[in-house]
Amino acid sequence: MKAATMAKRIIIIGANAAGVEAASAARKKDRAAEITLVTQEKTAGYSRCGLPFVIGGQIPGFNDLIVYSQAYFQMLKLTLKNETKVTAIDTKEKTVATADKAGNVETLPYDSLVIATGADSFMPPIKGREKQGILSLRGLEDGEKIDQAVKDGAKSAVIMGAGLIGLETGVALIERGLKVTIVEMLPQILPQMLDADMAKMVQEHLQEKGMCILTSKAVEEFLGDDKVTAVMAGGERIEADLFISAFGVRANTKVAVDAGIPLGETRAIKTDARMETGVKDVYAIGDCAESLNIITHKPTCAQLGTIAVRQGKVAGKNAAGDYSLFTGVLASAVTRLFDVEAGVTGLTEAAAARAKIEVVTGAISSKTKADYYPTAKPIKVKLVVEKESQRIIGAQIIGGEEVTQRINALSFAIQKEMTVRELAKADTAYAPPLCETWEPMVLAAEMVLMKLR
């Protein structure tokens, strides 16, 4: 009798995008549950994605990135244990062991456990990587270190990796007056996000703005005595004051693996449609968890903020005894690099080829306002369409503005399994200061239809 009336205990490991979202969703379902968030970080509930824009100076301070105030945790009766590490999970006894900064250890029992341990910056086995002075950009403290290095007079930076974080950080440092060199092992920038033809447009813009970009060049060695002073990349020695590793991130799964919670083929924690792991009452969300790609139906670990919060909401509800399903990932993403915006949803042409999906593509260059309107900016829309069904399965857009909501519109179209024939007949709005008469998405659809004839 007593057990039945006891408040449900929900423990969430991690307290940023995914974790706090899960806690909020759990609280909405269960007003009485004891909800505890455990995080190794000092600050909880902040936006990682905003870090480059504090470094760039668009956002005044790192504290401005805190999305969830102490008051929010208090009002929702969420217990936050910060600077506390989860050292072990016992899925049989249903407990987690924690250790705080002072070394105090605790064993916390749970009814539902949500793992939102995120991802860590990845460092390949490069010679000299144990040397000091290689920074990365993952947490608030990483951001503060880079900011401090700039304040201390750094004049140049080498960024290793031309993914979103590498490029956004590169732009920020150029805005702060540094000379920036990007080293990328693959032949193009943004290899996860864009096809080579679209990436080239972004690369040209970045180069015009003074970014030095070296593609098809691997970092071979970190040079310097104790502290790194140069890197060898593609046989070339590049000196700089600041070295930032942006090789990518890897799901942080150690505590889950130690507890016997199974990983999937992406090496992130395997989940089902309720975001539950292979172990009952244990959920995984955010950058440490995998889920299904809507097009390929294969596991994916796209590690984006929007996926983290959507998964968090689903897991939080389920952890509190509600019912909710995660409907999958298109990995829609956007970025702004100087004056150009780039976005993607669904599969690129290259990703479709890897999945053995045959496609027809169409790409249209247009303007963001009527062609004759003075401030019109260029925009290019590329559609990726599956040959047999004629369904849209991917899109990429590069433009001076108005990229994000087009990406969202195409994401909705893909989720609703819209065919390119339907998109070509779409009803769109028009006014000269806002857009062109013929929407470029519609024209791109028209182009694909012509190729399909």
Binding site: K28, S69, Q70, A71, Y72
Partner: protein, 138 residues
């Protein structure tokens, strides 16, 4: 009306650290949630309030407010008997976002022990300081 770090803190009210305000109106006390509180919750879509005649106790929940994303208890700033409930807020909870100190009031209470409980609440100057600290600490 004073604004502290973007949050309204009107004079003449008493404030609790659980994000409630009260206004002493003769023998009675009007109670609501602060601008700071509604801004943490964002668009409020549901307010669950007690019936007239219910007893409320200082520092204990007497209702809930639910927004699109969050849900929070309403924590009483004073003890007493609910005499009147703002039915307009129940049908239009967005008043809590639009006008938390005026049209968004929640209940009118006949206080049971106001003189003893008042010292635990913050007067205007203290409330300004407290809001400043809250906003800066985040």
């Amino acid at each position: 009306m004073v604004k502290v770090e973007g949050y309204e803190v009107p004079e003449g009210l008493y404030y609790s650290k659980e994000f409630s305000w009260i206004k002493i109106e003769g023998e009675k006390v009007r109670m609501g949630i602060t601008d700071y509180a509604q801004k943490q919750l964002r668009e409020i879509v549901y307010a669950e309030l007690p019936e007239a005649g219910a007893e409320v106790k200082q520092n204990e929940p007497y209702g809930t407010v639910e927004s699109v994303k969050a849900v929070s208890d309403l924590v009483a700033a004073v003890s007493g008997t609910v005499e009147e409930v703002n039915s307009e807020v129940q049908s239009r909870p967005e008043l809590l976002n639009e006008d938390p100190f005026d049209r968004g009031w929640l209940v009118i209470v006949k206080p049971a022990n106001l003189q003893a409980e008042l010292p635990s609440l913050m007067a205007f100057d203290q409330a300004v300081e407290w809001h400043k600290n809250q906003a800066q600490a985040k």
